[in-house]
């Protein structure tokens, strides 16, 4: 189970925010008390929290940046005029 999803919070939330989120989750009753307590415990722990963050979040920003940089370097140009399409079946111009 994803503790961030259970508590509906972002990664790197402050401990105070985690406690508040746990209270809110209890009131909403979308998850069992045990699930909420486990999620809170995991996110309050200095070792478990970063471990959970590693498993629950992916970061594609560096990958996007690398692609964007490549595109920038290639200088996107779309202004060329299009050559007319010629129908070739039965045409005498084909070679």
């Amino acid at each position: 189970m994803n503790p961030y999803k259970i508590l509906d919070i972002e990664k790197n939330s402050l401990k105070q925010e985690i406690i508040q989120a746990a209270g809110r989750a209890m009131r909403e009753r979308k998850y069992s008390g045990k699930e909420i307590a486990t999620a809170q415990k995991k996110l309050m722990d200095d070792i478990s929290e970063p471990a959970e963050a590693f498993m629950c979040f992916i970061d594609v920003e560096p990958l996007l940046k690398a692609c964007a940089a490549e595109l920038k370097a290639e200088n996107i140009s779309v202004s060329e005029t299009e050559e007319k399409l010629t129908y070739l079946l039965g045409s005498e111009d084909i070679s």
């Binding site: 200095d46 070792i47 478990s48 970063p50 471990a51 590693f54 498993m55 992916i58 970061d59 594609v60 560096p62 990958l63 996007l64 692609c67 964007a68 490549e70 595109l71 290639e74 996107i76 779309v78 060329e80 299009e82 050559e83 399409l85 010629t86 129908y87 070739l88 079946l89 111009d93 084909i94 070679s95």
Partner: protein, 698 residues
Amino acid sequence: MKKKLENLEAILDRAEYLFEKGNYVLAKAEFEKINSVFPQDDFAEKIAICEKEIAQVRFKELVKKARKYAKKNSLGEALGYFEEAYKISQEDWLSERIAELKTELFGRNSFEAAKSAEDSGDYVKAADLYEQAFATQRDEELLLKKAGLLVKAGKYEEAVSAFRSLDVSDDDAKYNYGFALAATRQYCECLKIWDTISPLFPLAGYKTFSQQKRQIQSRLAKDLMLEFSKLIGDKTHTEKQTEAFSDIYEQGRYLLEHSEIEKKKLTALTEYCKYLQIAFMWKQEKYSDMLKLLLPYPKELNADLLALYAKTFFRIAETSEKYFSDLVMFWLTALYHEEIFAKLSADEEQSGQIREQLLHYAENMIKIHAEAGNIEAKKALRIWNVEKRIVKGLRDLSEIEPEAARLVCSSRFAEKFGRSDEVISFIRNNRSFFSNIEHYLLTGGIFSSAGKSLFHLLCGEHEESLASLPELYDPKEAEFVKYCTERVHFSYGLYCLEKGDSRFVRYFESAAPLFEKAPDYEKMVIEKSLACHRLEEIGRYENALSEIHSKRPGSEIRNALSLVMVRRGIGMYNKHQINSKNMEVILKKALQLNPENELARVTLRSMQVDIEMEALGKAINKHKMNKACRIAADSENKEVKSEFFEFMKRNLNHLEEMEMENEEKVFLLNDFFKWCARVDESHAILNDIDRIIKKLEK
């Protein structure tokens, strides 16, 4: 008047005659002549019959003619005759046939008209007429014709929609369809269609067609760029936008895979779209969909991509109960990757703890699935246990040589991403780092070309393990491949031995060098040989140990062989498969190998008593007392001697009770004395014999 009557009679006769002969036309004329002069109901009836018969004949003639024309495909004439026949007889089948012919004729007319319109260049009209012809003829070719003509007429959108509902397998039609798609800016679809055109299709060989394809590829690339620029500018990130990125990705991928267009820019574009989709799918927990985008693996993985693969495979394994071995490969590599490790926490010690926890999560997850009976998870767990140790070892090694940090990876990762050779060199250059020779060889072996075979072995897949040993390999990895081969052969030998396959001896031939490097395997085979109980299996172990001993005569193998020989001998003796003499030979041989073999010694002693007792009994039964004395005298076993004296005591008692002359008794007693004295001069029986002799002599 009389003459007139005679004349009428003659007409009537002729009429009747003709009627009888079936010539109803002439008969009718004759009957009408008579009826006009002398009207009678009888004549009128005959005339009616004739008329009916005449009509019937006419009907048959018309139908015959109609069918003849229909056969000749002259549908107009056929229709005329059928219609005329229908006037005579309104039969149902005839009306149906007339309707059919009319439809067919209409279709044919439409087809002819379409052809003529096509010849005159009126393609729109021709297309319409072909569709009309299809309505009657139901031939899909007509619709393909229509769609093709719409292309010629420049009605591209209509042409595309006409082609969409058809099975386009003809190359002409494929070209037309593709052209219409291109003309409506559906470039990717056009290329997909044109790429299926047969190379034998005349147009396919023309340069102009290749140029046209390149033109479309270039247009598609430009369109994708344009669309991408628009989407990037819009920061709303809606689901619709994600779909648009997905479209660009799919088309970009197709173009990359099926064209020779400049790839760098297009690759960056498709990759960008791919990662955007991945981020979206991750949020929605669509991990299996992510996998479709992540496979096949790229040639190179940087830290960000490696972390992405590791996390995705963790989630996929967790939810789909598959891909455990991929999880092992990426999870270990990612967590021991120095860049990823550094990002876990600012504090190195804490990073270490986080890594341990993450390793524990993955291991635990695999274990849970393995314990639930998932075969792939069971295999992955065995691989995990070995790979974890190996990767950790490489990490420790890289601390000595920091520039080699990029080589810290699982063996499957190294193989997939072409790092195996470098890792092997790294291991070879740091031989002294390893705790023992086997640790060194195992680490190198896992990364060598025999690594796959070793993994099969770890998973208990003996046949696959043997089959995947490499026949050719790089001399640089020779020592590792050799070690793997020895291990695989040794394990395969044990596997054969345990299942009763006699080929096991062949595979133990290379066991000696393996035991040199890893004595634990020698201990293993010794323990197994001593733990088995079935006679056949003990026999096979004896052969195996004997083979190993012949190549590597170490004391442990020798002692084990000695013990196994005795155990086998005892088993055979107890089953009466060998006699005591054979058993004695075995025991002596076992004692030769190991003089301290207590089991052999005790058994041999006990066997010898049995043998001597048997020989003593035989000699006594045959009254060969000299031989009996010699056996008892020579024996070192007191049981044999005491058996001899017991026998003599019984004889002494019998003699006392026997009725015979005293002289005879004394004679016999002197023999008794002589025999007993030969065995033991100090035995008490001698006094008894002497006393009886003296008593008898008195």
